[in-house]
């Protein structure tokens, strides 16, 4: 669009995410003070009033501030490490619900990034993405619980010992990828709406299988679900005791899951970025733009589409394994069509084909659902129970159909509609890479 060199160069490594803020980049001290104030200020606020949703949202907003301010990449990463590696675990231990929110956000960030590869980059509309998540979850649920003994004639092996969990993370990755290829093979020739319908069917088939594979062999325990599922070992507990820190497992398990999810989400982000900036990512986008032209330019359609399905699905597979261990109980109800749509909504809301978009989309939707809308409906309920009178009408007289809890989905739907009308490209739309960010044989920028 323009020949003007962008203000951010590879030498400084800054990301030009918010062009309006660029003029502040010559004041790094000021910026860092601002970040520190936002981060620690909100963290202290959460610590003092742990039940205030607004305080926790201020903390989340300060993470966004780190991303948006024109700091160089290393400084941003350092601040993010402080916020997510130190402050968040402390706040999460103080109020366990926030830890749960953070873990869920992490899981959905990885899922959204996986789906972003398939839908956003390769342009293959997948409405059954949650199937891969289910496959990962059931994989560990079956073998990490007594369930496997119900159909395998081996005594005393199941549930597998807790350390096996880590092997199953890798296995979940592999099985997810294989399932992705299995879905990919029959739908290679399909495009657009047809592809969407088949993937929708695939998602339902996996859920229905999970629902019905309790006979003739009891593999999934049907609609009753599987429980108890083993959790990974608290391998760091002895080290903590040696340091004189004794914490109950109820504190340590969320911490373990939090750091696992954080680590995997970070790895997923790095993999995504690297794929996007390579011939693989360009081939996916070329397929999205024009399949015929892409193939005529030497892009092997079959291989690249299967690769997109496999990589996208593998992320979901890994997160499924973690999900089942975290929940201790899973049933087919956790993997409905609505879940697939939810992840898709995150990708679209954030910005199709955009990595920051998928991250912010997953965070925003999860926080909205778990925190904001819940908080809102609780607040409305309180108003109602207090018998407040508005315009001469006593809220306590509202019929039960108007119960605030029922507004949650409606408000969520309205937000989606408004977003699509006023910002159809998403919160952080995909940006094209500038030439200078490409490697030209020199040392690449960060």
């Amino acid at each position: 669009m323009t020949d003007v060199p962008s203000p951010s160069g590879p030498t400084t490594g800054a990301v030009d995410v918010a062009p309006g803020l660029q003029r502040w980049r010559s004041h790094p001290v000021l910026l860092n003070v601002l970040v520190a104030a936002a981060l620690f200020g909100s963290a202290i606020l959460v610590w003092v009033v742990p039940r205030s949703i607004i305080a926790f949202m201020a903390f989340q907003a300060s993470l966004l501030v780190i991303y948006l301010l024109p700091l160089d990449v290393r400084t941003k990463l350092a601040w993010a490490a402080v916020a997510l590696g130190v402050l968040m675990p402390m706040l999460g231990t103080h109020n366990g619900y926030y830890m749960e929110v953070a873990i869920q956000v992490g899981i959905f960030v990885a899922l959204a990034l996986g789906l972003n590869i398939v839908v956003g980059l390769a342009g293959l509309l997948d409405l059954g993405y949650v199937a891969f998540y289910a496959v990962g979850a059931y994989l560990w649920a079956i073998f990490g619980s007594p369930q496997a003994a119900k159909f395998l004639p081996i005594e005393g092996v199941f549930p597998l010992p807790a350390p096996w969990f880590f092997a199953f993370l890798i296995l979940g990755l592999a099985v997810g990828a294989i399932t992705g290829i299995l879905l990919g093979l029959p739908v290679l020739r399909l495009r657009g709406d047809y592809l969407a319908i088949v993937t929708l069917g695939f998602g339902e088939v996996v859920r229905v299988l999970a629902n019905n594979l309790d006979k003739p062999w009891n593999i999934t325990n049907g609609p009753k679900g599987i429980t108890p599922i083993s959790r990974p070992p608290l391998f760091f507990e002895p080290a903590l005791s040696a340091l004189g820190i004794d914490a109950p497992p109820s504190v340590l398990y969320p911490l373990l899951f939090y750091f696992m999810v954080l680590g995997i989400a970070a790895v997923v982000i790095v993999i995504n970025r690297r794929l996007e900036g390579s011939h693989v990512g360009r081939a996916w986008e070329a397929i999205r733009e024009d399949e015929v032209a892409a193939q005529a330019m030497g892009v092997p359609l079959v291989r690249m589409k299967l690769l997109a399905f496999a990589i996208g699905a593998s992320f979901a597979g890994v997160m499924g394994v973690i999900f089942s261990a975290k929940q201790l109980f899973i049933s087919p109800e956790s993997f409905t069509f609505l879940e697939s749509i939810g992840v898709l909504a995150m990708v679209i809301l954030g910005g199709m084909g955009s990595i920051p978009g998928a991250i912010i989309g997953a965070s925003a939707v999860t926080i909205l659902n778990l925190q904001v809308l819940k908080g809102l409906s609780l607040w409305l309920n309180e108003l109602r129970n207090s018998g407040l009178t508005v315009l001469g009408y006593n809220l306590a007289d509202l019929p039960s159909q108007f119960e605030p809890a029922k507004y949650e989905r409606m408000i969520f739907g309205m937000i989606l509609i408004l977003m699509m009308i006023y910002r159809p490209a998403g919160i952080f739309p995909a940006r094209r890479r500038k030439l200078e960010t490409y490697h030209r044989g020199e040392e690449p920028a960060a």
Binding site: H279, R282, A283, E289, Q295, G298, V299, R432, G441, P444
Partner: protein, 260 residues
């Protein structure tokens, strides 16, 4: 040496025979044109040469090797590149990215190289980008590397399509109406550029063209299709005088009166 050879190529769409038993051959380093009225089967013939359609009968050989049944991307790796009649760029990608996609098959990297950012990745990526910039300079689009393809003016889009096709590293370049929508001056410029490709890069070029001045000026040989059949072939001057060609373009009865 014969680079492209087609024998008895037939392509049917339901009851319509779009290409009917066409023989064609093109020697290395030459430039040939396929002409004919609308609906004569020119683009369909092109599509059988590039694997977008598999011929219902007959054989197509590139460098002596049959390409029937190969997917378009495999045929591309054998050294056949093309442009499209209705420009088919990757509209939401930048100029340099469009050209880089053309190099896809030539990138020898494994997934691990990409995810691990190995030295091999940096080397290959650096090489690709430098080559892409060279090609962009060659077609005269320097300075527009970061522009989105869809924001380019029409003539630049045609140039970019050629740059993208050249990125494939072709021996044979198929251009489907490259001068469509160009002024006579721009068309002339493009012809000079195509001649340069042949002399400097040893390319072989096959054109579909409606601009007769261009066709007659540049082609070594002209093939005329009508209703899916080859009705004439030979040097431009000879084809120009062919009674059947004149008839195909102008209709029976006026053929004698209106030789161009």
């Amino acid at each position: 040496m014969t680079l492209l050879e087609a024998r008895g190529v037939v392509k049917r769409f339901g009851g319509l025979t779009a290409v009917n038993g066409v023989d064609f051959s093109l020697d290395e380093g030459r430039i040939a044109s396929v002409i004919g009225p609308n609906g004569a089967g020119k683009t369909t013939l092109f599509n059988t040469f590039t694997g977008i359609y598999a011929p219902d009968a007959g054989d197509v050989r590139v460098g002596g090797r049959s390409i029937v049944g190969l997917t378009p991307d495999r045929i591309t790796t054998l050294g056949v590149a093309r442009t499209f009649q209705n420009i088919r760029l990757f509209k939401n990608m930048t100029v340099v990215e469009n050209v880089l996609v053309g190099m896809h098959a030539r990138v020898a990297l494994r997934l691990w190289d990409v995810v691990g950012h190995t030295p091999a990745f940096r080397r290959e990526e650096g090489r690709s980008v430098r080559q892409a910039l060279d090609l962009i300079g060659l077609v005269g689009l320097s300075g527009k590397e970061d522009a989105l393809a869809r924001n380019l003016p029409y003539g630049d889009q045609r140039r970019l399509e050629i740059a993208r096709a050249l990125a494939v590293g072709p021996k044979l370049l198929l251009l489907d109406e490259p001068t469509a929508g160009m002024t006579q001056g721009e068309a002339r410029e493009l012809m000079a550029f195509l001649r340069r490709l042949i002399s400097e890069f040893g390319l072989t070029i096959l054109l579909i063209e409606h601009n007769m001045r261009v066709v007659m000026e540049i082609s070594d040989r002209v093939t005329v299709l009508d209703h899916g059949e080859k009705i004439a072939e030979g040097p431009p001057a000879q084809v120009q005088r062919d009674a059947r060609v004149i008839e195909a373009y102008l209709g029976r009865g006026r053929a004698g009166a209106a030789a161009p």
